[in-house]
Symmetry: C2
Subunit: 273 residues, 2 copies
């Protein structure tokens, strides 16, 4: 199959969190166009079952294909953990997710072979980070901790707050006792809490941001397949944003964390795909 090198990258998440991944792609692959979809009508995925997350992911991929994307980035940890293995068997364009990228970097970063992961309950229960890390180095022990309050705290804007610090301290206590030296921020919202997490864990623990690592992996994959964009898009804005609900609220939040001026997001009915 011959794919247009100038076609956009499809990026999707359950909501706004995946914008931290889109941001890393914008910074590190500035020639690439992006079609972003945030499933704001059905957010969050973290508490939903595998079957439901798989059905939602398939609908989103059908939508992204209508936009002519050349590759897909699953910017949602839950969907990466629960749906990626199945979906990559079903489509004929490259697809990568944040979980594998984060896992690989964590495995090469740790020196004492004790890695922690913080994420939503579903991601932790799927043991997907553990599984990937074990295939790279079976000697590494992975300690997972579900942190369901952190996404609401970020969305409330309490990213530098005493209450948030108390919640983070409580969640991270067990991981500190295990003496991990590497901690994966296994949910796309968590990089926005990296200051507090860093303070709580101390300077001896390295934080892994899967959003950044995913952009690095995407670049390598496109290069390997001869699919990197070679020209800057001219005469058109290279990034388009779609959501399943509340486009204005999404646009505001996106504007606050993206490095570019952005157009208004379009709302679509994802259940039709």
């Amino acid at each position: 199959m011959i794919m247009d090198k100038e076609a956009p990258i499809g990026v999707f998440d359950s909501g706004v969190g995946g914008l931290t991944v889109a941001r890393e792609i914008m910074k590190n692959l500035p020639m690439e166009k992006i079609i972003y979809f945030g499933d704001t009508a059905r957010v969050p995925y973290g508490s939903k079952s595998k079957d439901t997350v798989l059905r939602y992911s398939r609908q989103i991929i059908r939508f992204l294909r209508t936009q002519g994307v050349k590759a897909i980035v699953v910017a949602c940890n839950t969907a990466s953990a629960l749906a990626l293995d199945v979906i990559e068997q079903e489509i004929d364009i490259p697809i990568i997710g944040v979980v594998k990228a984060g896992a690989r970097v964590a495995a090469t970063t740790t020196t004492n072979r004790k890695v922690g992961v913080i994420a939503t309950e579903s991601t932790i229960q799927s043991k997907m980070y553990q599984d990937y890390i074990s295939t790279i180095d079976p000697q590494i022990t992975v300690f997972g901790k579900g942190c369901p309050l952190l996404v609401p705290l970020v969305e409330e804007g309490w990213t530098e707050d005493d209450v948030t610090k108390k919640v983070v301290e409580r969640y991270l206590q067990e991981l500190k006792e295990e003496e991990i030296d590497t901690l994966i921020l296994g949910c796309t919202h968590y990089p926005l809490l990296s200051k507090i997490v860093g303070e709580v864990m101390g300077s001896g623990v390295k934080l892994v941001n899967p959003a950044y690592e995913t952009a690095v992996e995407l670049e390598a994959l496109l290069a390997q397949r001869g699919m990197k964009s070679e020209v800057c898009a001219s005469g058109e804005f290279p990034y388009r944003f779609f959501v399943s609900d509340a486009a204005n609220k999404f646009t505001e939040f996106a504007q606050s964390i993206l490095p570019v001026e952005m157009p208004k997001a379009h709302q679509i009915n994802i259940e039709e795909y």
Copy 2:
């Protein structure tokens, strides 16, 4: 239209929260059968737009009609606030919601005519509690406060916890300064925090639980229309539970707060309705 008095009551919510309403109906109207639907695949509604909440509510009502319900209780504050006024024009069976019931009792409870409401952001922004209370007594001033962290805190099980108390104190500070004497717990999860909320507000402030008031209103409505059940259901369990995702998790949570042994919830695909 002649309706079977022994037909069940349909009760729906975005998830598990509406079980606090089902519980009050079980306690106060023990002859009535209940069909409960929790939209666990699309929870929460609190951050979603009016159009989306309306579309979801219509799908759920179409499902409940297939179960032959004689009346519908909207046990979700967000759906009551955003969708009830439209939906009650569209169907030919009685439908009531938690917002009106809570508003009416608050209006007759306050003596200084200063009422507070805590709820999700959508419910507060809809100003529906304010509007209903104003139609009863325009002299009452209503102070609303969105509390997005309280649902996740309840679902984390931190209902009697220092962190939760700190969050509640911060959210309620403005309402205390306004010297309200009555506070509506405007989200179905909040009755599970009534101990902490009561401590923070002090004994001079009366708490209104719309779940209880809704059961009282339902009983009056059924009596007025000659639709009260007159026989105990025999040979069959009177309560059935349906969800759009994660039936096991729902069943566990439901068992922990309901006064009866309950059967396993059934999962359906609500998008098909």
